[in-house]
Amino acid sequence: MSSPRRDDLLGELFRNPLDPGYAAAAARRGDASPPKSGRWLTAAAMLAIGFLLAVAYHQVVAAAPGTTKARADLVADVQARQRTADDLQRRAAELRTQVDQARDDAVGDADSAARLKALAAGTGTSKVTGDGASVRVVDAPPQVDPVTGRAAAENLGLVTDRDLQDIANGLWQAGAEAVAVNGQRLTATGTIRAAGGVILVDFRPVTSPYEVTAIGPPGLADSFGSSGTAKRFKRYIEEYRMQFSVKKRTNLTLAAAAEPPLRYARTPSPTPSGGPTR
């Protein structure tokens, strides 16, 4: 270490941060008590400092970018609506069980009720449980340039709607009786499409990681795993660093799909004859 130099400005600053004026004033004053009039001067200065701090705080809050505020508002809005949607979904499930119960009571005939239940399970309009398989596909992480550290503009390892369609079809082919993508149950009229870079299952967006669950025969995972679709995805793992895995699962529960809305058809008002009306 070199000895401290007198003209070392920063060093001097570090060693002796207090304004030398205080020591000088104290020395000048000697033992005499400080004059009282100065107190009010100090109070005025402190008042000004407090005012300054509050104003600066206000300024910072007011200058918070409007976009941040708008974004926070939007996030809160989305969360509130998600909560509402969850509540509605829970209510829908409750009502569905009630409807099922009422229908079973109304049908009375045990045979028809069982048949109805089987049909509902098959078409996807009721909740089903059972053993099966789950297929997990995850987007490849973006290619990062090792020199610049920037992500490549194009990522070839993104899962597309077509991939999910192939997996779902492969699972059906392997004997699956119920299939769901990220919890969205697929039905005969269900769709897997892409819009604006987002994959939509029945018009609801799903995001990576994608989990396609299916209930089917005991060998579902194995027979899907050895299918052509699975082999193709295993190749994608090496080529595009996509993640893909097939797992055997037990005790899966797949939620019911939404009832398809009828836009044009109406149930006829009860006619006495019950026959077709002209």
Partner: protein
Amino acid sequence: MIAVIALAIGVAAGIFIEPSVPLGLQPYLPIAVVAALDAVFGGVRAKLDGIFDDKQFVVSFVSNVLVAGLIVYLGDKLGVGGQLSTGVVVVLGVRIFGNVAAIRRHLFRA
């Protein structure tokens, strides 16, 4: 004691009055705050050292704020506003840290 009450009143006044800062003065606000903090911590340390002086405190506060503002103004006019502001913040920041360390030693003996 009077000083602390005055500070609280100042903050309260700033919060309730909600003054709008003219656009021309806005760049000076952050520097003024740092300069004011430097004066306050210097004053607190002097108080703990037993050498507090009212006149010295007021003069150091006013001159700190004025000089800091002047430097920012000059920097703006010369086109090196950012760098000069950084210099002000570094110098005042170092002093604030040193004074706070001294205050800490006084209060906690550590």
